[in-house]
Symmetry: C2
Subunit: 221 residues, 2 copies
């Protein structure tokens, strides 16, 4: 297996190319860190962007929604889809507006979507998506009911091409003449993290959060 | 001015309709809270999703990139674009995988993109985008240089239609029979916040962060 995605017209990063990476490890790491993917599709010649839960299993990304959801029907019918997962890590506050920007991790994936209809394959995909969101939780829960499996639409997107763009500037890069100006510049990290568990109503008396759920507290994306 | 976006085939929310809102105040609030927009466009019949900085001025969303960037050229040439801004607020941890989900604020906007070429209009748009990211910063910085203005491509997207989907469940909603099971359930908030300013290198001696920049510390999205 190649360690890199082949660079083609499709996934070639055109802007700020020095930030572009095509190695699978980096692409996978960003996909695994994100919580939602923004999936693009075309409806009536109009581009649409829909945020979706997802999970990755090797070179396959699973997406799910209601079986009757438009996005599932559209993805079932098309052989072209793409998605982007982006995490913003910091503001890069420069001495000018032009050089101010953000640090981020961003991945774009191109693939052919297919509907997952086989019961076992669907269960596997649902486990992958659940484990992406809450590692270890799947084993703690009851099996999905048949009606739940039927009501859920699952799409498998095999990664045909992908690229990552990672910006992690330790300092803003300013115009040479601006360094002499008495304007503060620096980095302001943006932290995305789970806080503390809040009990639901109607809990069975004495039930405490499981290890899997506890492990999420304080976790940073 | 109407307080709501008209509901049409384009922006009608089809899934989980009880969460759909079309009032401008809610749509604007989500757009103003987000940091990046995922912009959808079509290239060679392929849907593409690109994360972009943005800012809102009334019913206009400004986007920017390098003047020569593909996304700017594509948006200049098309009369159809859409974008999505989503903020994830919590995991909703139910007693089953099926009912586990997320709380979020999500907005989809449809509009006709136009290139902003006039110098003054471009400066106004750049100020809107900068102020969206760092309120109060624009006035503290030098004017953009002519070369910077020329190198920047700005797109104005007038909001033709929009919808918001807000999920803020205080509790997971489980199958009636699952409430009797000794499985913990609840909410795990996800907090996205700026932390503390980090000095850049090469700062003029004695320069401290300005009020505008200080105000961002600890700010939650």
């Amino acid at each position: 297996m190649s360690a890199e995605y082949e660079v083609s017209k499709q996934n070639k990063v055109r802007q700020i190319r020095e930030k572009a990476v095509y190695d699978k490890q980096t692409v996978h790491a960003v996909l695994d860190a994100g919580l939602i993917a923004h999936v693009g599709f075309i409806q009536d010649e109009q581009p649409l962007v829909v945020p979706m839960l997802y999970g990755r299993d090797g070179e396959t990304i699973y997406l799910h929604g209601a079986r009757k959801a438009r996005i599932i029907r559209m993805l079932e019918q098309t052989d072209r889809a793409s998605l982007n997962v982006t995490l913003v890590d910091a503001l890069v506050i420069a001495r000018s507006a032009f050089h101010s920007s953000m640090n981020y991790r961003s991945v774009t994936v191109f693939g052919s979507p297919t509907l997952v209809d086989d019961r076992e394959a669907k269960l596997h995909a649902l486990e992958i998506i659940s484990e992406h969101m809450m590692p270890g939780r799947w084993a703690e829960l009851r099996e999905p009911l048949e009606k739940e499996i039927k009501m859920t639409g699952v799409i498998a997107l095999t990664i045909d091409a992908a690229s990552a763009k990672i910006s992690k500037k330790p300092h803003p890069e300013d115009e040479e003449e601006d360094y002499a100006t008495p304007v503060w510049a620096g980095i302001l990290p943006l932290e995305t993290a789970f806080t503390e568990l809040v009990d639901a109503d109607r809990l069975v008396e004495g039930v405490e959060p499981s290890a899997a759920v506890r492990a999420l507290e304080g976790k940073r994306l």
